[in-house]
């Protein structure tokens, strides 16, 4: 080994030597840099949430430097003309100041809010990926539960965050939250009084929300995110079945340089999308809402989208109130508000254990399942998504009614009936589709691919030429087992080699002289350097 100046060898020895003396970094550095990560686009979805969270911390710190969470009454004297001379809380005033008096304040507010929506949306998308591929099975049930907790912590963090400016829209939402709290049997009025320091809205709630929003919940989120990612590191990521992939290995590429560069690039991409959206699309224009006043409300009042499911449940739930006059009332909102939210937290948390008990499958699984191979789980997932979507749309049923000239009462009834009927239909349809796809896979494995070439035999019968996937027997059937991996359905997907056309944006056909990687025409890196 020649020691050359300027190469990484001497770099590592000079600078790294001092650090390693103190911290013993050499081993962990090698282990970390070499770690193999599997490669699939759907594994990147959780990272959108991680990067959004980082952006939230950065933009949130900026906002915290200017926001004043006080409910002290002041008169606005800033530059937004339609509110000059209007009485409001200091919280609302400081939020208006960030929007109109602080250079660049408005775009920071918007980036913070768009990053929140992206955080929650990407958690949902990531959760669906993990669910439909069975990645939550042993040994990863704990990580699934942590993920569900992250969603709900984000839910409350977002709700509290958009209530901080004490504007008309979020104040209405806070009133609804208070009404839901009041509905708790025996405890309701006490919990409400404890939270608000007396009657609604009181003088304390914004300041209490502030410390929860900038300290307690971010701490919890940060801790859980660290554990969440740490578990992925320790247990290693799952992978799709395929050639060379078993339950006991990971096939992919190294953490450094490949994976880390892609991560950094993707992080910058996520930041760029949020920044671009914050300049192109206005979000949460609090100056239009005025300060929160208990006598003021607007048509078309909705919470942020991740809360709209709950609002939809509350809108649709029938007027059922249980009374034992004159001693006891169970308010109608208790069912969708408290029980509904409770089930929405507990059922997803418990799902891995429920599935384990139901399927009696206690083995560890490091290979993913294609959704079609578990029709019951996939159907259940689609059912839940349909249910959730109906809830969200019903949460905005008055906006729908107004935009599309539909009767509001009809929207409510459509939601009530749809919520019960549509998920069942969705389950059935999904189940059948999965079975059909499974059947097609096995048919292709047995009879080969359809080539699209039609032939006619002397008897006049038309038949399609099929390309078998293995050596067929005399009847033209192959004995291939389904291995859980994608079965090629088109001629250009045959084999384990790279597809001939590799371009993403435009066609890149293989050329003779450069870049050809088939048949070992290029030298592998084996020596030198």
């Amino acid at each position: 080994m020649k020691r050359r100046k300027g190469t990484s060898q001497s770099l590592m020895t000079r600078a790294g030597g001092e650090l390693d003396d103190r911290f013993k970094l050499a081993g962990p550095t090698r282990v970390l840099m070499n770690k193999v990560f599997p490669d699939h686009w759907s594994f990147l979805l959780g990272e959108i949430a991680l990067f959004s969270f980082i952006l939230l911390l950065l933009t949130g710190t900026f906002l915290a430097l200017f926001f004043d969470p006080s409910m002290t009454h002041v008169t606005y004297e800033g530059s937004y003309v339609p509110l000059q001379g209007v009485g409001m809380s200091k919280a609302y005033e400081s939020a208006l100041n960030i929007s109109f008096e602080v250079r660049g304040g408005l775009i920071m507010r918007q980036m913070h809010h768009w990053a929140t929506l992206l955080f929650m949306a990407s958690i949902l998308v990531h959760m669906m990926r993990v669910f439909f591929t069975g990645a939550f099975r042993a040994p990863r049930e704990t990580n699934w539960m942590i993920g569900i907790l992250l969603f709900w912590l984000g839910f409350f963090e977002g709700f509290i965050g958009y209530s901080l400016p004490d504007d008309g829209l979020s104040g209405t939402g806070l009133r609804i939250a208070e009404g839901m709290t009041e509905s708790l049997p025996f405890l309701g009025p006490w919990v409400s009084a404890a939270l608000f320091g007396g009657s609604f809205p009181g003088d304390e709630v914004i300041a209490r929300f502030y410390i929860i929003h900038v300290f307690l919940l971010p701490l919890a989120l940060l801790a859980l995110i660290t554990v969440h990612i740490g578990l992925v590191f320790a247990q290693k990521h799952t992978q799709w079945p395929g050639p060379g992939r078993t339950e006991h290995n990971v096939v992919g590429y190294r953490m450094f340089p490949n994976y880390v560069m892609k991560q950094v690039g993707f992080m910058l991409f996520v930041f760029g999308v949020v920044a671009a959206m914050s300049g192109l699309f206005q979000i949460n224009p609090i100056w239009l809402f005025g300060p929160y006043e208990a006598s003021v409300v607007s048509s078309g009042s909705q919470p942020d989208f991740y809360v709209m499911f709950m609002d939809g449940l509350i809108r649709l739930f029938p007027a059922w109130e249980f009374r034992v006059p004159p001693y006891f009332t169970l308010p109608g909102v208790f069912w969708p508000g408290i029980v509904g939210m409770g089930l929405s937290v507990l059922l997803p948390l418990a799902y891995p254990l429920l599935e384990r008990r139901f399927t009696k499958d206690r083995a560890h699984h490091n290979l993913l399942q294609r959704p079609r191979d578990t029709p019951a789980r996939t159907g259940l997932g689609v059912m839940v998504i349909v249910f959730w979507l109906i809830g969200v749309i019903s949460g905005g049923n008055d906006v729908f009614a107004q935009a599309f000239h539909i009767s509001l009462n009809a929207m409510t009834w459509a939601g009530r009936i749809g919520m019960v009927v549509l998920p069942v239909i969705a389950y059935y349809l999904t189940y059948r589709i999965c079975l059909g796809l499974q059947q097609h896979d096995r048919e292709v494995l047995a009879h080969g691919l359809e080539t699209g070439i039609l032939m006619r035999d002397p008897d006049g019968r038309f038949y399609e030429v099929h390309q078998p996937l293995a050596e067929p027997d005399e009847h033209g059937h192959t004995e291939l087992e389904y291995g859980g991996a994608t079965v090629p359905k088109k001629m250009n997907r045959l084999g384990v080699l790279e597809p001939a056309d590799r371009g993403f944006f435009k066609s890149i056909e293989e050329t003779e002289d450069e870049g050809a990687r088939k048949g070992g025409r290029r030298d592998e890196i084996e020596a030198g350097k």
Binding site: A193, R254, N258, M261, K262, F328
Partner: protein, 371 residues
Amino acid sequence: MSAHNDDRRPDEVDLSDPKLSRFDVYREGLRRDGIEIIHYEPRYAKPGTKVEKRMERIVASLFLGSGLFATLFVVAYIWWPWKYDGAATWRDPQTWYTPILGITLGLSLLLIALAVLTWAKKLLPVEELVQERHDGGSSRDDRRFAESTVDTVVDDMGLKRRPFLVKAALLGAAPLGLAAVAPLGGLIKDPGDMLTVTGWNAEKHNGGEPVRLMLKDGALVRPEMVATAGQITVFPAIEGGASNEFASAPTLLIRLRATDAEILRENLYPMYQDVEAMWGDFVAYSKICTHVGCPASLYEQQTQRLLCPCHQSQFNVIDNAAPIFGPATRHLPMLPLGVDEEGYFYAKSDFLVPPGPAFWNRPSLPEEDEQ
């Protein structure tokens, strides 16, 4: 490179061998982490080919482009006019401040992202490696070690031999745990009458004098101030009556057409008839929806409905504001109205039932139970 299976892995490489290349050392390091190379080759067959140079140029220009937009961002941030100065249209530059910042910053970040990603996708070697998972629990030996360690520690502490001590410890520690959370009790407040008494209560807020009705700006309300088929929002005429301090007090004063008022009079609940809650053709309903508390203030003067915009509960104005659609289950309480000698409206008493959302011990009256 063919894939080896575990049984035939070569022996450990001797790192002191001077003939080893850097790659050999690297590969040995991989092997010790359970990693094997399936293939690993440069992306371009020969270094310095046209394609590679083109990719390098692309990556370089992406980096430079990103820097350009970042500079534009900083320049715009400092020098573009941004101060809000009254109603502005797209012709005024300050309405473009936020969009320009977002677009320049967004493009800068996107371009540098593309630069890094293109570098990763087009210039890094093509590789595929396999790493062993060491899935499953610890080895049997480790488990035995752990068991014996825990058992020894427990034995050293004598926990099994001293149950009385253990119980005493728990008995003593439990109240200490309670003491740790006890300060949160400072949050606890007795709700008292916060849900049952509103700003209209004369004894509590006006020294026994009946509370008059006022508009938001403080003007006292006379019957002549409301047109037929009109409605206004009224508040108790006390200190801070229109503020959030009395959030359950806002009330809708409606002047019905004569025919509609007659129908309402026939439908009045006995408790409202007893106190003569209506005054002439006027009726006053609590604005706070009995579902979850938003102001139910969309008054449809032809269909005679009050619609709450939050969850679409609808109340029948000419039937004691009883709910006729949506999730609300109780009528909007009626404020008993009177007019004093000076011609101002006043509330004869507080609401007869608590306004707003229900709670477990809300007094419910027979009329409500019939709904």
